[in-house]
Structures are given as structure tokens and as C-alpha cells.
Symmetry: C2
Subunit: 304 residues, 2 copies
């Protein structure tokens, strides 16, 4: 059951109340494909980096079973770079630097061997590029999941709305759901957004968990209360990667199946925030992962 992941593979420099990093590997597709790799061994990556990108990380992905044939390396160019600083509450951050570099002219070329993928995860990118990916696939995947952000709602809303018509699942955070729908109530927002295209909407609320909406059905998964949230960067992408990876593993795209996928996505995200960047999710054991999923079950289990 092959999974195609398209998104940024990049550098981040992060500052949190707990410390700061130099340039480390980041990017939506890095987190997504790493997280998915714990569930499916046929993940294919389409992304672009510059010649400055460390081959070592690409080898890490390969070791995890991620196919990087579709990772374009642009000689003489630099990788996308983002730098940000989190506030004390870790729920808000300031962007310090954004250098698009290779991402400015990203042409998402799909290798022939990646055609006929069953699952497609479109990480946060220009809506136009996300749409191009869909147009270039000869056959529509069984399930298309799209992540986006407030930035595109502000500067490319029409493109985004076009793209939304083509996807099955949208993942955004609560603020973005309010911005996109113009509704404060998330229940009302969910109804409006579903009418824009995606039949399933996942609203991510960070330390306050995640909601899955489908028609009048709703499911809530909490975030695991943690001693320390060290660095929230990539948590949403890791969540999405765990979610789509688990679906690619089970092949179950029903509402019930998605609930379980959200629990696995939440478990993966709960690891991600424990260290800087991808550090915590680069080498998880099955025992660790199972223990975390077990903790989630205990967290919400009651006997009524």
C-alpha cells in the first residue's frame, strides 16, 4: 500500500525557552516521512533540497525504508531555511528568518515508479504546487490528505479553495479553522470547511489534542500531558505522518479507522516535542511506541 509524501525538506534554526539550535534538519516532509516509516515500508518522497543538505539525513530516511528517488538535489543552490523563536507558552512563535531558496521554484516531479500510489500526503506548500501534484498523478489515490497553514489563507485563498475541492482530509489547527471558515465555533467551522471539499477535517489543537469531524460525527483525541514540551516544531507534521502511515498500514479509511490513526499520530507527535527537531523520532523502538499508545488508551479510558 504505497504512500506518496510531498513537502519541504529543509533546515530550521529553533529557539525555545529550553535552548537553541544551529541549522538542523526540518521541513514538513522530513517529519511526515519519518513518522510514517514506523508503520509502512513503502513511503515515497517528492521534495527539493540544495547541495548544502546533509546526505546523512537522506541515508537515515532510506534506512527507514523511505524511497528518496523523488528528492531533487539542486547543485549550486541552498535548501529552504526557516528560523523561529517560541514564546514561553510554546503555543505561539515568531518567525525570525524565512529563506525560500530552492523552494521558490519547486517543480514537483513524480517519478514513474511513484505513480499509482494509494495514499497521498501533501505537506504544507503553496496550494498551486499541491494541486500540480494531484494533476500529475495518472490515477487519483484512494485517500488524499492535505496540510496547509494560515499564510496561504491570507495570500492565496482562491488557489487554496481550488485545491481543497480535490482532497479527502484536511489537517489544520484551530486558529486556521476559524480563519478559513469565519466561524469561531469549531463545530460550525467544521461544517463550513467540509462544504469546501474535504469530507474529513482534522483540527489540531496542540497540547489540547485533536478533533476529527466527518458529517455530524466527531472524535476527540487528547494530547498526552508531558512533563516538558521541549520543542513543538514539526509536531503537526509528525502527527500527520503517523496518521497517514497508520492508514497506509491498515488500508482502513473509514471513520473508525481514522480514529485509530489519529491516536497513532498523536503518539508520534508526543515523542516529537520531547527533543529538538527530528531527534526524538529518528530512532524509536516498537516498545516505546506501543507503551505510548497504551498511555493514550489509559488517559481517556473510563468504565461507564
Amino acid at each position: 500500500m504505497s504512500l506518496l509524501v510531498v513537502g519541504s525538506v529543509a533546515f530550521d534554526a529553533i529557539e525555545t525557552p529550553f535552548g537553541k539550535t544551529d541549522k538542523i534538519v526540518g521541513g514538513a516532509a522530513s517529519y511526515i516521512s519519518l513518522a510514517a516509516s514506523y508503520f509502512t515500508k513503502s513511503t515515497n518522497l517528492v521534495a527539493v533540497v540544495g547541495e548544502d543538505f546533509p546526505q546523512e539525513f537522506v541515508q537515515h530516511l532510506n534506512k527507514h525504508g523511505v524511497d528518496t528517488t523523488g528528492l531533487q538535489v539542486k547543485q549550486g543552490e541552498k535548501s529552504f531555511f526557516w528560523s523561529g523563536k517560541y514564546h514561553t507558552d510554546m503555543n505561539s512563535r515568531d518567525t525570525l528568518v524565512t529563506e525560500l531558496n530552492v523552494l521558490a521554484n519547486f517543480d514537483p516531479i513524480i517519478p514513474e515508479a511513484y505513480q499509482n500510489c494509494e495514499y497521498l500526503m501533501l505537506g504544507n506548500l503553496t496550494p498551486k504546487i499541491q494541486q500540480t501534484v494531484l494533476e500529475r498523478l495518472h490515477k487519483r489515490p484512494k485517500l488524499v490528505v492535505l496540510d496547509t497553514m494560515n499564510f496561504w489563507m491570507e495570500i492565496a485563498l482562491d488557489d487554496l479553495k481550488e485545491t481543497l475541492k480535490m482532497v479527502d482530509v484536511l489537517t489544520i489547527n484551530d486558529e486556521e479553522a476559524r480563519l478559513l471558515s469565519g466561524e469561531y465555533s469549531l463545530v460550525k467551522a467544521a461544517a463550513k470547511i467540509q462544504a469546501m471539499g474535504p469530507k474529513y477535517l482534522i483540527i489540531k489543537k496542540g497540547e489540547n489534542g485533536a478533533l476529527l469531524f466527518h458529517g455530524t460525527e466527531v472524535f476527540f483525541a487528547p494530547a498526552l500531558p508531558l512533563e516538558e514540551v521541549f520543542d513543538p516544531t514539526g509536531a503537526g507534521d509528525t502527527f500527520a505522518g503517523g496518521f497517514i502511515g497508520y492508514i497506509a498500514k491498515t488500508g482502513d479509511i473509514s471513520f473508525e479507522g481514522m480514529k485509530n490513526a489519529i491516536i497513532y499520530g498523536s503518539a508520534m507527535a508526543s515523542f516529537c516535542v520531547e527533543k529538538f527537531g527530528t531527534e526524538r523520532i529518528i530512532d524509536l523502538s516498537e516498545t516505546e511506541l506501543n507503551a505510548r499508545v497504551h498511555a493514550f488508551k489509559n488517559l481517556v479510558n473510563f468504565s461507564l
Copy 2:
């Protein structure tokens, strides 16, 4: 299994983005005893009002099985009055008016028939008064639950800390937990607060649900996603009333028992916010309540 509720019975004037009220009945103990009355028919109330307080509401309480022998009516005096205005997000509010009136000299007299209560719910009041109630009981109840707020942490922290040593369960919101403990992480905050006395800590997070901590155990109950939160006033008290009422009904003060009580508390609170003041919880049917609890089960149920 008798329940003693001590707290304010008062007037509120509320403004939300959806409308505003004149003086309506409010006060922690009004919400608590009403909510508890859906689970236990032996609720005893200790509170104080002025001669301006409507007899009609007292009759409502009586009809719900709440004994109001302990409700002092001060002739020639006025009831406690609070007025506030909620911001658009409904999570923050400004206090416009606070008139202590009869509450300024509240002496919590416990009628003899109220002695030997098994459960005690101390609604938000001066910590000294809460402590006085405990000292006046001939026998310590099986379970003592205390609600308080940031105000007392700021102006009467030493008194509050003394009182905390005497209680089993503390209910506060996330901001208050951070303020009381000096820890941002709720997991760390919970450990510090438990060391202050209460072996059980409930952290209320409004539309983001509630957490129950006990030692290293933790349980999370979501809030039901609602189309409209009309007026959050009293939601925390209604939650506490449903919680202690359900415990008084079952007699189960184990961690497992408290989990179920929290679900019932959350269900009661989800009704409370649908209308102004106590309006929505004054006349709930058993069918409505059961349907709401069922919705909570569906909301978090997954098959893993």
C-alpha cells in the same frame, strides 16, 4: 449518602457576545447544588443571601431535593452581586462590578442536621471561611472537594495553603494551577500541588476539557464540542456539582470512580453553557442527560 454544599448564592449580570442579562441568579453554590441534585436527593446547602433574593429560586432548589435550612437570609441586606463581560473567545472576561454585600461577613453556620455529611463540596469562597466549615464539622467527611480561584492565590495564599492541607480534591483551572505551583507544565504543576495536600487534582481547561491527577495517574475528559457556547458562567461550578453529586450517588471515591464522576460533571457543564445562568440546568430530563453522557462516550471511543 448526604452531601454538604457551601458557597455563594448570589446575583450575576452577564454580558456575552450573544446578549446580556439583568440581575439573574448565580453563585457557585447555586450551580453546584442544582447540578448535584440530578444525582443525589440529599444535598444540604449552607450559604447566605439578602432579603432581595427571590424565594422562587429557593423553591426551585427545594423541588430538586436541596435542603435550604442552612441558607441564611439577612433582612435589610443585599445579596452578593457580580457583573462581568466576556470577550469574543469566551475564555476571558472582565469583571465590571463586585459587591460583596452579605458575603462580607458570612459566618457559615452548620445546622445540626447537616453534621455527619459524607461528602463536602466547598465552593469558591475566602479560604478562611472554607477552613471554618471544616473545623465546625464534628466528623471529617469521607471526601472533601475544594474549589478556589486565582484571586485568593494573590491575596490570601497562606490561608489557602493552610486550607489545602485539609482537603482531598482540588478543582482549579489551568492558569490557576500554573499560578499556584509556579510551574508551566501541568504535569509538574500537578505534582507540586498534590504535595500541598490534595491527593487528587482536577485541572479544568474550559472548552479544552479537564484533567484528573492522582499520584502518577492521569485521566483526561474532553469538553463536548458545541455549536455555540452561549454563557460560560457557572460551568466550572456545574462541573463540580455533577462530579460530587455523582460520587455521592455511587459512594465510589476511587480513581476509577472519579473518572466516571468527571464525565458526568463534564456533561452537566456542557448543558450549563448553552443558556444564560442556571436556565439550562434548572429542568433537565434524564433522557437529555443520558444522551449527553452517551455523546461523551462516542467522542473519545476508539477500538485500538
